[in-house]
Amino acid sequence: MRRLLWKEWQERRLWIALWVATGAALTALGKGQGVCNIAWMDSNWGMLIPLAALLAGLGGFGSELHRGRAAFLYSRAVTWKQILGAKLLLGLAAIIVSVIASAAAGRLLLPAEYHQLITPHSLLSGALVMAGFTAGAYLLGLAFSTVLPGVAGGLLVAVGWMAFISLLPLSGIKEPVFSIILTLLAPLAAGLLIARFGVTLHAMARLRRFALVALAGLAAGVLLDFTPYAAELYKKLNAPGNTPAEERFYNVNFSPDARYASAERLFGNTTIPCLVRLSDGWFSFTDEDFSGESYWLANNLLLTNKRGFTSEGKSARPELLLRQWHGDELQTYKIDHSGNLSNEYTALSPDSRYLLLWGYDELKLIDLATGQARTLAQADRIKLRILSRRNPGKQYGFRQCWWQSNDEIGYLDPYTGERVLAPLSALDSLD
């Protein structure tokens, strides 16, 4: 066995070295991601490691079957199990080395603040996933090292995989498997290998062997994947770094003092927007579409900028919604506008009675007690456009407005940019 292992190593050491180097290099490039944190599998980079393993496996039987050395080797006092075993052992050794190399590279390279993530549990999970992927890829490579049987085997894997992903939803099993490759693909590839290389077997005997190994492997894999342990492990693999499967809220948006929150609540398969008063857990659904950006103002007002279209793509009037709790009721004020107002350009009066909103061509004032909105000033868009074209580089429109005091506002003239102050009472006469 030792000699067989040495022969395998000599023949494929470059590929094995490439495999291990790829794992370590990618871990290094990922600044320590790798076995230490399996979230890297989300990245396209992760694909290169199984690919390197696959290439290492592809040369597997090449020397025997392509160059006619099979007769020489098989006529020695060695069984095909030993021959295959040596190839598999080499793969296993490479997997172990690459996992260790990746873990070591990660430990060295992960910035100090992330070291808290490296726990024995996370290392074990990462190692299992990485080992699973690369083992499956290596076995695939071995199984495909001869063209036609490999192609037939590939087709078999294809059909099996399609059947699996089509039937799984029907089975009602909801818990996701944590290492598909390890538990499904590897048994298939292993079965293929074992069936192929019993040299003097009849076709039926080969098929029996393949079925036995593949099914045994699949059964073991399915059992492993769907046990409660696997589900626990999967949950742990997903936190931190990925969103856990059972979050209750999306887009949790707290008010500045965390007394209120807007969020989307997971309800079955959909999300429902809600506004929560945290002191007593009272929440309110809104019938309307929350398709807009919500922005909390300093005094726990929620301003939502509804776009000019709904999520289905139908056009809608651009609106601003102001929401605040009055006792047990949620007050919502709708403010129509020309389309240029947004949360970004607001100014709250020092006594929190009024809110100024402005856009390119519009200045609005909202009485927060009553929700009434009135347009204080409007600029001529066409005139603004002409001015812009004539003087490129200079900005026009209502660029800034502010509260000079509780009764006086200031703004920059949309046409000249000059500073203008105007008492609130006088603003009816603007325009």
Binding site: M1, R3, W6, Q10, S63, A71, T79, T200
Partner: protein
């Protein structure tokens, strides 16, 4: 099974799809003999050997090597039998020394001293990569690898294919000398008949998947004769000549190749009323051609 038999097959058959390559082979190779397994290209020799070594599954029949079933006892057989295949492809990236080391691990009876001795005698440089060796030297290395563990039986499948005359002769003589010293059995297949004559004890001739002759070489040679019958005119068809293998008309001569030559054969030849009958000894090659040639009777 007779303990004096190294290889024994009963009804051994191999079919590839519809083509029968080996057809009900009944072979017995006596232990301690040098058995030449002759046949034309495509007669089924290599297929038979591969089945003996469990490199090919058989369609029907049984085969035993050194008393062991060739499938169930395959591993044990490989430990006790040396095999040099036709155009054997060694791992050309290994050096001679490494290759010897590699093969040593598979055989508990490997004799390092013998291997070293063989290497010296065959003049194989230890640090040379196999790919740089000539074909002849590679064949000799293959032989070393098959002999260093003192196999009880040595199977050589066309071992001298592609080698020049000088190397072939040396190879065969070297093999015989090395193995016969210890009373082992050698079973070699070849289609180069002339080289067998000098070394073999037994001969088996295979044709179209069947064993058509199997006996000691001396018996074959002594029992096979060529009769040249001269006639005044066109020779008649040879009828009722016992043991007739081959008949050929050459002008006014009728050349008959017969086996199991005896007085009866001569009488039968004279019955054709030739002017004269000359009896000649035959080389093994002539005998072989007569047995498997197209125009045989």
């Amino acid at each position: 099974m007779d303990t004096g038999t190294a290889i024994e097959t009963h009804g051994l058959t191999k079919r590839f799809w519809k083509k029968t390559v080996v057809d009900g082979l009944e072979l017995r190779v006596p232990a301690g003999s040098i058995f030449a397994f002759l046949g034309r290209n495509g007669a089924g020799k290599t297929t038979t050997i591969r089945m003996l070594f469990d490199l090919l599954d058989r369609t029907a029949g049984t085969a035993r090597v050194l008393g062991l079933d060739c499938v169930k006892g395959a591993r044990e057989i490989r430990r006790r039998v040396g095999y040099v295949a036709q155009n054997e492809d060694l791992y050309d990236w290994m050096t001679v020394e490494r290759m010897i080391w590699f093969c040593k691990g598979f055989y508990p009876t490997w004799d390092d001293k013998l291997a070293a001795d063989l290497r010296r005698r065959l003049e194989l440089p230890p640090d040379t990569r196999i790919r740089t060796l000539s074909r002849g030297k590679q064949a000799q290395l293959a032989l070393l690898l098959a002999m260093a563990y003192r196999p009880e039986l040595l199977i050589l499948d066309e071992p001298t294919a592609g080698l020049d005359v000088v190397v072939r002769r040396e190879f065969l003589e070297g093999v015989i000398q090395l193995v016969q010293e210890e009373g082992r059995t050698i079973f070699f297949s070849t289609h180069l008949v002339h080289e067998v004559e000098r070394v073999a004890d037994w001969v088996g001739i295979m044709e179209e998947g069947k064993l058509i002759y199997c006996a000691p070489l001396e018996e074959l040679k002594s029992g096979t004769r060529r009769l040249v019958c001269r006639f005044p005119a066109i020779p008649p068809a040879p009828a009722r000549i016992p043991g007739l293998l081959h008949a050929e008309k050459l002008g006014k001569d009728l050349v008959l190749t017969v086996r199991d030559y005896n007085e009866q054969t001569l009488v039968a030849a004279h019955a054709l009323k030739p002017e004269s009958v000359e009896v000649e000894d035959l080389s093994l090659e002539d005998i072989f051609v007569a047995m498997v040639g197209k125009e045989r009777v």
